[in-house]
Symmetry: C2
Subunit: 138 residues, 2 copies
Amino acid sequence: MTVPWPSRPAQVPVLALGDVLLVTLQGELLDTAAEQLQQDIAQRVARSGATGVVIDISGVDIVDSFLGRVLAEIAANARLMAARTVLAGMRPAVAMTLVELGLTLPGLATALDVERALELLSGHPLAAVPSDPGKEDT
Amino acid sequence: MTVPWPSRPAQVPVLALGDVLLVTLQGELLDTAAEQLQQDIAQRVARSGATGVVIDISGVDIVDSFLGRVLAEIAANARLMAARTVLAGMRPAVAMTLVELGLTLPGLATALDVERALELLSGHPLAAVPSDPGKEDT
């Protein structure tokens, strides 16, 4: 499928890792990119039968109400198609800001990093406990 | 580590997946971000003992000589620390442009997507074809 790309693409790639789709958000997510991403994930889940979606936001420094809504909608869409969504890699500062703003992202499972998110989705019981004392990334 | 982030962060996250580090490049990579990324990957390989680095460029529409050099340097660094680098997800249009420009990225193994790159690094024989198996960039 060849589509003409703008000089600076708005698209966020959706990677497949086995039964899980991985999305790495970086910097700011613009409106058009967010909409495209929601469509992409929904289509990829439908097409591939993915059972999980991991959204890594370790490269995101600001989660506002817009992004919070986008994430919630992605998770809701995925769930309607039998896939679970896990939000991975939130920075401490982002978490604190979210709580201050009252945006606690209900309905979104979280994991400290992508590896733990994948373990969570694969059913490991101890996979994603946020309070897990600081383990160095292996 | 809490550092003040500019409104649009230059940092590209480096994700750990088992023994492999995964980097998803999106849009344009600026000079500062490229330098930071090289340092990050080198440090992460050293710290974690990762045996492979997968760089996904499915979200990249332009690979120029600068990015080509950055990728080659990342691969060279990683190899010196006993990790293999695989470039994943290159778009057909990008590949064609690179060949036209004579930038064939010697020394960089390639795979069609991240999943195949991971298989390549885990030693599956049919996973992917290194772009130039014998040729080292020395």
